[in-house]
């Protein structure tokens, strides 16, 4: 099935894009999608340990199951405010 990975900030710059379409097996968990992602974009690997994950605008665990068409958003350490 097809999902989309969205990138922001440093990871967006490292990958050179903010949107990555990804083919993952039906019923795949977020962790499987991330493994596929780093095969294609190895430059992102060093940042994943400090990255939170979001689906449908909520933080999710890496074990969460993905659905067709999901937008998996990688949330690096936030630094908003002042």
């Amino acid at each position: 099935m097809q999902i989309t990975v969205k990138l922001f900030a440093l990871m967006r710059e490292k990958a050179g894009t903010d949107t990555i379409p990804l083919d993952v097996p039906a019923g795949a968990a977020v962790t499987q999608a991330l493994a596929t992602l780093v095969c294609q974009y190895p430059m992102l690997e060093p940042y994943l340990a400090n990255t939170r994950l979001s689906l449908h605008m909520d933080f999710v665990d890496p074990e969460t199951t993905l659905a067709e068409g999901d937008e998996l958003v990688l949330i690096p350490p936030v630094s908003g405010g002042a």
Partner: protein, 136 residues
């Protein structure tokens, strides 16, 4: 109101959003772009957001703060894009019948923003270098 915007912020406008006749206090936090990072001169900043989620998280924090403290309305607006030294990056305003709850709620809300809202800051230094805060 919980928003992410590229427009300049006005503390007075955010304060006016939360005022009610029953509230005797409005406490606001005005986050300012500072001219240095650990002493290294900063030229300007850029903020990037996952705007839809950032607005949702701001609203969730607002609801949490209203549960936790005896306050009335709360508004939080985060600016993104390029910001120069001295400009406001975030304004939080909290109204309450009495001041103590408003002070505490405002500080708590800002602490929550720092950990839960998907906004990222990139510093551009006076020497031409730049870096994303907390990401290396």
């Amino acid at each position: 109101m919980f928003r992410v915007t590229t427009d300049p912020l006005s503390v007075q406008q955010v304060n006016d959003l939360v005022k009610r006749p029953t509230d005797g206090a409005v406490v606001s936090f005005d986050g300012i772009v500072r001219n240095n990072f650990d002493g290294r001169p900063v030229h300007y900043l850029e903020y990037e957001a996952y705007a839809a989620m950032a607005e949702k998280k701001l609203a969730e924090i607002g609801a949490e703060v209203q549960q936790k403290f005896a306050i009335g309305e709360i508004a939080m607006i985060h600016r993104i894009g390029r910001l120069d030294i001295g400009e406001s990056s975030i304004v939080i305003a909290v109204a309450a019948p009495h001041r103590h709850a408003a002070f505490e709620a405002c500080a708590y809300a800002m602490d929550r923003v720092k950990t839960e809202v998907p906004v990222w800051k990139k510093e551009f230094f006076a020497d031409g270098a730049d870096h994303w805060v907390n990401q290396n």
